[in-house]
C-alpha cells in the first residue's frame, strides 16, 4: 500500500546570475514510492538534491525552486491526489495533519519568545476548531509523557533547553496531530552522539506506536542503518540505488554506493579506507551520461553517453547502472 509517490519528479533551481540563466537540476527525474508503516531513508552528499526532493514532497516550493515536471501524489482518504493540483486551503489541510515536516535547525522552528506550551497551543489552534485550552494542554502533557519527555519543559523557553531536547520537542510538535507521513530533514545533524541517539530512538518509538511513514534524509549512513527499513542513495539529483537496508549495506551494487559503504569508519576497524576519487559534480552542468562516470573505476563507453535507468534487479532492489541492466533513460542526450 503506497501512501506517497513521486512520478518523474523534476525540481530545478532557476538562478539568474548577473544576466546569465543557470539551471540547477537538484532533483532530476525521480520516481519513488513509499509504503505505509515504513521508514524510508534518503542518503547522499551535500548538494546531491536530497533536501530539495523532500521539500518538493512537502510542497515547499519557493522561487528560485520550481517543479519543472512530474507529480507528487499522496494517498489521502483512499484517493491519490497531486499536491500541486490543490488550492491553498486544501494544501494547508493536508500539511501537518496528514503530512508533517521536521526541519534541521530546531531553533528556527520554536518561537524564541514563547514558552514551549504556547508554541504547541498555537500550532493546534491553527488546525482544530472548537477546542478547550485546558483539555488541549492536558493532552499535550500526556503526549510528551508518552514520548518520555519531562513535562516541566512546557513552561521553559526554547533557549533554556539543550539542542537534543529542543530537537525532540520539535519532533513532538510535528507529530502531535498524528500525521500519516512524517518528512524529516537531517533531524540528527549537529547533535552529539548521545543526543542523536535519543532523537533516533524517539522517531522509532513514534513510528512504532502510530504506524505511519517516515521519510528521513541524512548524509550519515550509520543513522540510516539504525533506523531505516529501506534506503535510497542519491547522487547528483538522481537516485542511483534503492533497496532494503540490509541489501544496501551488505550487497551494494552501484559503484558509488559501494564507495559510500566501504569508506565508513568503524570503531574496532583500522583497515585502510579509501574515498571515491574525484569530486562531486556541479548540478548546473552535470556530466553527460551517467552522472558518476567521471569518478567510476568501472566506467564503460556507454556510461559516457547514456543515462542508466533505475531498474529493479531483484526483490525491491533497484539500481541505475549499466553493469546490471542495459536499460537507458529516453530523454538522455542533453
Amino acid at each position: 500500500m503506497s501512501v506517497l509517490k513521486t512520478e518523474k519528479l523534476k525540481s530545478y533551481y532557476e538562478l539568474d546570475n548577473f544576466g546569465t540563466k543557470q539551471v540547477v537540476r537538484a532533483v532530476d527525474d525521480v520516481s519513488i514510492e513509499l509504503a505505509e508503516n515504513e521508514i524510508y531513508g534518503i542518503a547522499g552528499e551535500s548538494g546531491c538534491g536530497k533536501t530539495t526532493i523532500i521539500k518538493t514532497m512537502f510542497g515547499m516550493i519557493e522561487p528560485p525552486l520550481r517543479v519543472v515536471g512530474g507529480k507528487v501524489l499522496y494517498k489521502f482518504n483512499g484517493k491519490l491526489i497531486d499536491i500541486f493540483s490543490l488550492n491553498e486551503e486544501e494544501r494547508r489541510k493536508l500539511k501537518w495533519e496528514f503530512v508533517s515536516y521536521i526541519p534541521q535547525g530546531s531553533m528556527s522552528v520554536l518561537n524564541p519568545v514563547a514558552k514551549i506550551i504556547d508554541s504547541f497551543w498555537d500550532f493546534i489552534r491553527a488546525h482544530k476548531t472548537n477546542i478547550n485550552k485546558k483539555e488541549i494542554e492536558a493532552s499535550i502533557a500526556e503526549y510528551l509523557d508518552a514520548l518520555g519527555l519531562p513535562s516541566k519543559i512546557l513552561i521553559a523557553y526554547p533557549h533554556q533547553l539543550s539542542g537534543g531536547m529542543r530537537q525532540r520537542v520539535t519532533i513532538a510538535l510535528a507529530t502531535i496531530l498524528k500525521p500519516r507521513v512524517i518528512i524529516a530533514d537531517e533531524p540528527t545533524t549537529a547533535l552529539d552522539v548521545i543526543a542523536q541517539r535519543s532523537v533516533i530512538q524517539l522517531l522509532k518509538e513514534i513510528q512504532t506506536s502510530q504506524k505511519n511513514t517516515i521519510v528521513m534524509v541524512t548524509h550519515d549512513m550509520a543513522v540510516h542503518a539504525n533506523i531505516a527499513s529501506r534506503i535510497a542513495i542519491m547522487y547528483a539529483g538522481k537516485i542511483v540505488e534503492e533497496g532494503r537496508v540490509e541489501d544496501i549495506f551488505e550487497n551494494a551494487l552501484h559503484p558509488y554506493s559501494t564507495y559510500m559503504i566501504r569508506s565508513l569508519p568503524k570503531v574496532g576497524d583500522k583497515s585502510y579506507k579509501v574515498s571515491a576519487p574525484g569530486l562531486p559534480p556541479s548540478l548546473v552542468n552535470p556530466p553527460k551520461g551517467c552522472r558518476f562516470h567521471p569518478r567510476c573505476e568501472r566506467v564503460m563507453e556507454r556510461c559516457k553517453i547514456h543515462i542508466p535507468n533505475l531498474v529493479n534487479i531483484n526483490n525491491e532492489h533497484r539500481v541505475a547502472c549499466f553493469l546490471y541492466s542495459e536499460e537507458a533513460e529516453h530523454d538522455e542526450i542533453k
Binding site: E45, S46, G148, P150, I153, S162, G163, G164, M165, D192, V193, I194, A195, Q196, R197, S198, I200, Q201, H219, D220, M221, A222, V223, A225, N226, I227, A228, V245, E246, F249, Y256, Y259, M260, I261, S263, L264, P265, K266, V267, G268, D269, K270, Y272, K273, V274, S275, A276, L279, P280
Partner: protein
C-alpha cells in the same frame, strides 16, 4: 609520561568563564585542571561531546584565548607566559592550526594562493617568488594538489574537500611539528572525508608530524589516532591508547558514549534506551564527578573530587577503580 619524547606538556590547565549579569554570576570551568602531553609523531585525539571543553583546549594551545590557570610547556618553555616576540613567532611557526570550516578559513574576496605566498614570506621560509613557488609546489603535492590547480582561484571556486586540503597545505608551509585540527572533517562530504583523514596519517608517517585531532566522531578517531583523551564537562575522564579506550572502555561515560555511536550495520541496531542530560550548566557546577547525575554506578564518594586512577595502562577518573 617521559618528558623527552613529548613535544607539548599541558599541566593543570583551567579556563573559567563567568556567565550572568552583575547580580547573579555563575562561574563555569569549561576546562578544569587537566594534564596531558602530546608525543612527537603521534596523532592524539581529544574527543567528547559539545561543551566538553575540547575546542577550548585547542584555542588555548593556539593562544587565541587566555587560560585562567595552568601551564603549557613546549620545548621546556611555558608558552602561556613567554614574552619575547621572537619566541612567540617561533612557536606559531611550529604549531599550526586547521579549522572546521574551510570556507571560513579563507577570505572569500582574496585568491587562496595569496595566503600561501604570504604565509611563506611572513615566516621567512622562502625569499623571492621563485623559491616560494618551488616550496608551495612541494607542499601542495603532499596534499594531492598542484600550484597550477589553484592559480588565480577564489575560495568559492573550490569544493569543501579541496579547500580543506589547501588549508592543510597552508599549515604545512612553515614545516610545523604539530598540527592542531579542530573538527577538520565534519564539514567535508562523506565521499571525500576519508581522503582527508588519510592525509593526516600520511603526514604523520612521512614527515613525523604530530596531530592533535579534535573531534566528536569516535569512528574516525579510532581509525586515525594512536591515543585518545575523552573529555566530559571540562574533565578528562579517560585517556589511553585508542584500542584500549574505545575497544574496552572503563569509565561509565565512555561506555555510554561508545554505545551511542550508530553502527553502520543494520544488524546491530540499538536495543536499550539512553538518558540525556536536561541541563548542561548543572553538570558544570557539580562538585566531584560531573557525570554523577547520570551515572549508573553513582556512589556517595563521587560527590568529592575524583582522583585519576591508572587502570590497565590508561588513566580513568572514576571511583570504581579505587583499588
Amino acid at each position: 609520561m617521559t618528558k623527552s619524547n613529548s613535544i607539548i606538556n599541558v599541566a593543570g590547565l583551567t579556563k573559567i568563564y563567568t556567565l550572568g549579569n552583575i547580580f547573579s554570576r555563575v562561574k563555569i570551568s569549561a576546562v578544569d585542571n587537566i594534564t596531558f602531553d602530546i608525543k612527537a609523531g603521534e596523532i592524539l585525539t581529544l574527543a567528547g561531546e559539545s561543551g566538553c571543553g575540547k575546542t577550548t583546549v585547542a584555542r588555548i594551545i593556539l593562544s587565541f584565548i587566555e587560560a585562567t590557570n595552568g601551564n603549557i610547556f613546549y620545548n621546556d618553555k611555558d608558552i602561556l607566559h613567554i614574552k619575547s616576540r621572537k619566541e612567540k613567532k617561533n612557536f606559531k611557526k611550529e604549531v599550526q592550526a586547521i579549522f572546521q570550516n574551510p570556507f571560513e578559513t579563507f577570505n572569500p574576496l582574496r585568491r587562496v594562493e595569496d595566503y600561501l605566498f604570504e604565509t611563506s614570506e611572513n615566516y621567512g621560509i622562502t625569499s623571492g617568488k621563485k623559491e616560494a613557488e618551488e616550496h608551495l609546489e612541494s607542499v601542495l603535492r603532499s596534499v594531492g594538489l598542484t600550484l597550477s590547480m589553484i592559480k588565480n582561484k577564489y575560495p568559492s571556486e573550490f569544493s569543501g574537500g579541496q579547500l580543506q586540503r589547501i588549508s592543510i597545505a597552508r599549515s604545512l608551509i612553515t614545516k610545523p611539528l604539530l598540527l592542531v585540527a579542530d573538527e577538520p572533517v565534519s564539514m567535508i562530504d562523506a565521499s571525500l572525508r576519508m581522503s582527508i583523514v588519510n592525509l593526516f596519517k600520511e603526514l604523520k608517517e612521512q614527515y613525523g608530524i604530530s596531530v592533535l585531532y579534535i573531534t566528536h566522531d569516535l569512528a574516525t578517531a579510532y581509525y586515525v589516532s594512536d591515543r585518545i583523551i575523552i573529555m566530559f564537562r571540562g574533565h578528562i575522564v579517560e585517556a589511553g591508547s585508542v584500542e584500549d579506550v574505545l575497544g574496552n572502555p572503563k569509565h561509565p561515560y565512555t561506555h555510554m558514549l561508545i554505545e551511542s555511536i550508530p553502527e553502520p550495520d543494520p544488524r546491530k541496531v540499538w536495543q536499550k534506551s539512553v538518558d540525556i542530560s536536561t541541563d548542561e550548566s548543572d553538570e558544570y557546577l557539580t562538585k566531584g564527578c560531573r557525570f554523577s547525575h547520570r551515572c549508573p554506578h553513582f556512589m556517595e564518594i563521587c560527590k568529592n573530587d575524583v582522583p585519576d586512577f591508572e587502570v590497565e595502562g590508561r588513566i580513568v577518573k572514576c571511583n570504581l577503580y579505587k583499588d
